[in-house]
Structure formats: structure tokens, C-alpha cells
Symmetry: C2
Subunit: 155 residues, 2 copies
């Protein structure tokens, strides 16, 4: 979808950000990355994305410095992709997308972002709704939400 350039919007921060992460799969790949998915096949299975598309996206995110590719074993060489600082800084974007979707686009949240220290949930303002602490990607964990729980009960 990306002609890669939004002509006439080169100086716009929003457009420039979208030029990097604004295509159909990149955001979902990043969502997975934030849940500690790191390997090619794990991304592929989790997302159901075509392998060539995944390969191209991981390569681009690596080129952009959002992911880092490093071997986690030799013999045979296997790689993993981890978020860099620049990548971790995308967290507010993911959270704001998640929160809007929770409110307007789905019946019940499929996952909760929970403050590890106190069990509160993250808010749109990136704070904990229980203790009020400002949160970052390292302060939280992802838990299955009501939708998943309900499905499990009804199954």
C-alpha cells in the first residue's frame, strides 16, 4: 500500500511515521514483538501473514532501526528480532490504538495490559489506573481479556 512517500508531506511527523510503520501488517508485527515474539516462524504462526510479506517487513523494520536482528545460535545460524529503544518508543502508539479499539471497535477486549507491580490497567495517558504510576513497555504484562475468558468458559 505504501508508495513509501506521501508526496508533499515529507515534513509532517505523522506522515513520516506512517511511512515507516503505516502498512497493513507492520503494526501487528510490532504488537507481537511487544509480547516478546522474536522468531520468524513464531511471527508467522501468530499472525498468519504470508512469509514473503513477513520477510519484507522484518527487513524493513530492521533497516529502520526499530528491530534488531541477531543470531541466537550458530550451527545452524538462527536469528531473532528484538525491539530497539526506537522500537520500544512505539509503545504509546500501540496502546492508544488498543484503547480506542477496546472502546469502539470490539465487544470485549481480547487482551489487557496490566501493571506488573500492582495489577492495575494501563490508561490512554500511559499511567496505571490503580496506582497512577507512569508506565512504559517494561512495566507491564499482557493478559488475556474478557473476550478470551468468556470464550474459554463457553467452550
Amino acid at each position: 500500500m505504501l508508495p513509501r512517500e506521501y508526496k508533499g508531506h515529507e515534513g509532517c511527523s505523522v506522515a513520516s511515521t506512517l511511512a515507516v510503520i503505516g502498512d497493513r501488517w507492520t503494526m501487528l508485527i510490532l504488537r507481537e514483538a511487544f509480547t516478546r515474539t522474536r522468531r520468524f516462524d513464531d511471527f508467522q504462526r501468530a499472525l498468519g501473514v504470508a512469509r514473503n510479506v513477513l520477510s519484507e517487513r522484518l527487513g524493513r523494520l530492521t533497516d529502520e532501526g526499530i528491530l534488531e536482528r541477531s543470531p541466537y545460535q550458530d550451527n545452524p545460524v538462527r536469528y531473532e528480532y528484538r525491539l530497539t529503544e526506537k522500537g520500544l518508543d512505539l509503545w504509546p502508539i500501540l496502546i492508544s490504538l488498543l484503547k480506542w479499539g477496546d472502546r469502539y471497535a470490539v465487544d470485549a477486549p481480547s487482551r489487557l495490559i496490566v501493571h506488573r507491580d500492582c495489577g492495575g490497567e494501563v490508561t490512554e495517558r500511559l499511567t496505571c489506573d490503580r496506582c497512577g504510576a507512569p508506565l512504559g513497555p517494561r512495566d507491564v504484562e499482557v493478559q488475556p481479556g474478557p473476550a478470551v475468558t468468556a470464550a474459554a468458559v463457553s467452550a
Copy 2:
């Protein structure tokens, strides 16, 4: 780019949000809407987007309840598009995209989001960096940033 459905991700809030606003132009149309652009031709001129694409996007955003279309004159009838509450709630997403872009994707911000009451700038956490107040779309105005100022000086 949108097959409109991310198969297997129906329950995911992030994917669902992207299904609504995740295509190439929608986010930029919304950016304009937040700067009080309201008419078809104004959007078109500001963005340089193809008219059919703009038409289709405005229609979809209206269907989704993110924009509201109402006549602002009869004879001939002319319409304007305004953000609804649901649309205004997309503000955190825009701000987080803008802030990330300011930091990583452009040399100098082309626009600043400024707290109307005190002149401070909005932060990633949607607060004012001067007075600390929590901010929303109605509390701020958009000002030209360093990039624009520099261009004006050099011209």
C-alpha cells in the same frame, strides 16, 4: 491495502482499530480534521489526495461515526465533515504518531501542539509539559514548528 478484515484477528483491538483507520490516507485526513479542516476541497488541497479516494474515505469515516456530514448551506447544497466524539477520541493516536515522528522521523517538527491556556507543549502522556494539566483535543492549538519557521527565514 485493506481487505477490510484481518482474518483471525477479529477480536484484537489493535487490528480492529486499524481496520477502521489503518489505511494510507485516513490518518492524514483525520490529522487535517483536527486542525479544523471541514470541506471536501479543503481536504483535497491540503493533502493532495485523489478525489475518489478522499470521497471514499470521508464516506467510510462517516459510516463509522467518526465524522458527521452536515449541510452548511442550501442552494447549492454544500457539506462539511466534523469530528464526532468518537472521532475526537482518536486524538491520542494522532499525538503519539506525531511525537514519535518528531523524535525519529523528521529533522524538525513542522507543527507544535500547544496548550491554549499556558503555551506549553503536549507530551506523549497527553499532558502539558509546562503546567502538567491533562490535555484533550479542545485544549490545544496547532502552531507552525521550527521546520516551518526555518524555511520562512531562509526564504
